[in-house]
């Protein structure tokens, strides 16, 4: 058994669970439930392959302990025009610029703006992408892939396709998709959610499960944006109580009208204390 020497062999229970030949250590994914992990393996997996993808916005990176974590679902919530889309566009360009992987951007409100991305990339310091300006722009922008999605069924279709493509490509060892952005998920869910019929809610939960599965199995970082709706008194994130449990990290963004300083607040975080607040400027 190839893995025997490496202490990590304890990760597989002997007996009813057949140990696949040695290579499962390299493939780091727990495929098909053939192999249960213990805490040490998990820790190793987390420290080795669950990277923090920087958003390029210092305030947010500081709040999230480095950025958007792979394997996790991060939610941005905020009122209209608070800067959610800007954070999405910034993260996409930053992750692509650092060549951490490809970015898949699902756009529901025609707000994916290539010219904005070009401007953000142009503003990056030379040290970030050591290439001449025209080359790096093309390089960065070709690794951001965008698809418009206009209803929930489209979204299911796209996510299933993505899952299939990821499954087939994991073995090729190419530069893979590492960040999936959905801006905004609540625009798709709002028309079906609520009312007398439970169907909308169950579709919402299927989307949630699918996203988390993708995040976990293919080591994606998933970033979704959510609306704010008027609650009793203060505005609160949309989609209700059952969606609240879905994201690993929930971040609220607000911006005073006319200013370009955003305020981010951690509403929920799996590792770090919530309630912390940071201010950050939106890049011009």
């Amino acid at each position: 058994m190839a893995a025997a020497g490496s202490g990590g062999s304890a990760g597989c229970f002997p007996g009813p669970y057949p140990t696949p030949s040695g290579e499962e250590k390299n493939q780091d994914e727990r495929q098909g439930g053939q192999c249960l992990l213990n805490g040490m393996d998990l820790l190793k997996d987390v420290t080795e392959s669950k990277r923090f993808l920087p958003t390029g916005l210092q305030g947010i990176d500081a709040l999230l302990g480095g950025g958007l974590r792979q394997g996790q679902l991060t939610e941005l919530t905020g009122q209209s025009s608070s800067g959610k889309t800007q954070v999405c566009l910034c993260s996409a360009s930053h992750v692509a610029a650092r060549q951490l992987g490809h970015v898949m951007y699902l756009d529901t409100s025609n707000s994916f703006s290539p010219s904005r991305i070009a401007r953000i990339v142009d503003g990056f310091p030379f040290s970030l992408v050591k290439l001449p300006k025209n080359v790096r722009l093309e390089r960065v922008m070709t690794s951001i892939v965008c698809k418009s999605v206009f209803d929930i069924f489209d979204l299911f279709e796209v996510l299933h396709q993505l899952e299939l493509s990821l499954k087939n490509k994991v073995k090729c060892g190419n530069s893979n998709i590492c960040l999936l952005i959905i801006d905004s998920i609540s625009a798709l869910l709002a028309p079906i959610n609520g009312g007398k019929y439970p169907r909308g809610r169950s579709m919402m939960m299927s989307v949630a499960m699918l996203l988390k599965k993708l995040a976990d199995e293919h080591n994606l970082s998933v970033l979704v944006t959510n609306h704010m709706v008027a609650g009793n008194g203060a505005p609160k994130p949309a989609l209700g109580e059952s969606w609240k449990t879905v994201p690993h990290v929930r971040l609220a963004i607000s911006r005073a009208r006319g200013s370009n300083i955003c305020t981010a607040t951690v509403l929920k975080h799996t590792l770090l204390a919530s309630g912390r607040v940071m201010k950050f400027p939106v890049p011009s």
């Binding site: 009122q79 209209s80 025009s81 889309t85 800007q86 566009l89 898949m104 951007y105 529901t108 409100s109 025609n110 707000s111 994916f112 703006s113 290539p114 010219s115 904005r116 722009l137 922008m141 070709t142 690794s143 951001i144 892939v145 965008c146 698809k147 418009s148 206009f150 299911f156 279709e157 796209v158 299933h160 396709q161 993505l162 299939l164 493509s165 499954k167 087939n168 490509k169 090729c172 190419n174 530069s175 893979n176 905004s184 609540s186 625009a187 798709l188 709002a190 028309p191 079906i192 609520g194 009312g195 609306h227 704010m228 709706v229 008027a230 949309a238 009208r257 006319g258 370009n260 011009s284």
Partner: protein
């Protein structure tokens, strides 16, 4: 690779498996007609499936994060950038306004324009319906307009006036070409501008929902429509809707449909909205109507307001442009720059009007 791993739609996959196609080998042996019959789908779809299957057989192990292979219909940002840069914008009539909008109203986006009664929402709507028709050789889009009127405020006489104003400005800027291009002259009549506005009069929210659903079919038959204006999106939904949660759902559904149309048919959607007062932080403030959820459902948001005696427009929301405001005026000719700055900016307005195409015309 198995059938289950083929990048085809879930329903097709289910049908394949149900019809007993369990392996790729079995699938590749089938002919399109047989497959179509077995799965009871169109032949075209069957051919598509076979194509995918053949492709999957070939591409095994071949590197590929080429964009289209990951998800059908996806585009990378680089291609989208060049597409975006080649796109023309719809002139609003005022250079200052065009400036803060990044050249005018953008196609493939939904723009919401709101403001107090009498500020000029409908005027701007009519102006856009006229300006979208400026022929390509005069730097316009040469498209047609769909005007969905819910309030009954579309005045044909006024439209005629604005069309005349638009034409006189074009002729003033292109003094040489109207005597040579007779065919162009033919089109530069207010009558033909009016004839190319498709007008729908809506009298209830049911009709509004219906017409938006019907638009898809209408636009398929009229591919040269470049702008859809709804004046206003609010009226009926403010009048006779009691269930607010239902209203939110219906409206967000409508907005997604309009987004889809804007993208699919490369047109601008302009939604006019009314204002309402909202109690925030101890005081009443004016905001656009239809509530917080609705405020998320447009790509751009432009708020018109009075600043003393001047009309101003404030770009409140845009994914690509900074927040900004600019003055504008409503004149006999339509929406124009404010009078005080008229002289210096007249040239700029016409410069924008001309776009990229004026140079060859001027050679004569």
């Amino acid at each position: 690779m198995e059938i289950a791993d083929l990048p085809i739609s879930t329903s097709h996959r289910a049908k394949l498996l149900a019809a007993g196609y369990s392996s790729l080998a079995a699938l590749s042996a089938a002919s399109p007609t047989r497959l179509a019959r077995d799965l009871s789908i169109e032949i075209q779809e069957a051919e598509d499936i076979l194509k995918v299957a053949v492709g999957a057989n070939k591409s095994k192990g071949v590197d590929g994060l080429s964009t289209s292979s990951v998800i059908k219909g996806a585009q990378n940002a680089w291609d989208m950038l060049s597409d975006e840069q080649s796109r023309k914008h719809i002139n609003t009539g005022s250079a200052d306004l065009n400036n803060i909008l990044g050249g005018g109203i953008h196609c493939k986006e939904v723009t919401e324009i709101g403001g107090v009664p009498g500020i000029g929402k409908t005027q701007l709507g009519i102006q856009l319906a006229i300006n979208v028709q400026i022929p390509v050789e005069y730097g316009g889009l040469g498209g047609k307009a769909v005007y969905i009127d819910t309030e009954g405020s579309f005045m044909a006489e006024r439209v005629y006036q604005i069309a005349e104003g638009c034409i006189s400005d074009i002729l003033e800027y292109f003094p040489y070409c109207h005597d040579k291009a007779l065919s162009g002259q033919e089109r530069l009549k207010p009558e033909s501008f009016l004839a190319d506005i498709y007008y729908f009069r809506i009298c209830s929210y049911t009709e509004q929902i219906a017409v938006i659903n019907y638009l898809e079919k209408f636009l398929q038959e009229h591919k040269d429509v470049r702008i859809v204006i709804i004046d206003s999106v609010t009226f009926h939904f403010r009048q006779d809707f009691d269930d607010m949660a239902l209203r939110t759902r219906v409206l967000s559904g409508l907005s997604l449909k309009l987004m889809k149309l804007a993208k699919a048919y490369n047109l601008a959607v302009v939604l006019l909205n009314q204002v309402t007062t909202k109690f925030t932080e101890g005081s009443f403030q004016l905001t656009l109507a239809l509530g917080d959820s609705w405020s998320h459902s447009c790509t751009n948001r432009l708020i018109l307001y009075w600043n003393g005696n001047e009309r101003y427009a404030y770009l409140d929301k845009s994914p690509s442009l900074p927040v900004a405001s600019a003055p504008y005026a409503v004149t006999v000719k339509g929406v124009r720059d404010t009078v005080s700055s008229n002289n210096s900016k007249r040239v700029r307005f016409l410069g924008m009007l001309s776009g990229a195409n004026w140079a060859p015309i001027f050679e004569h």
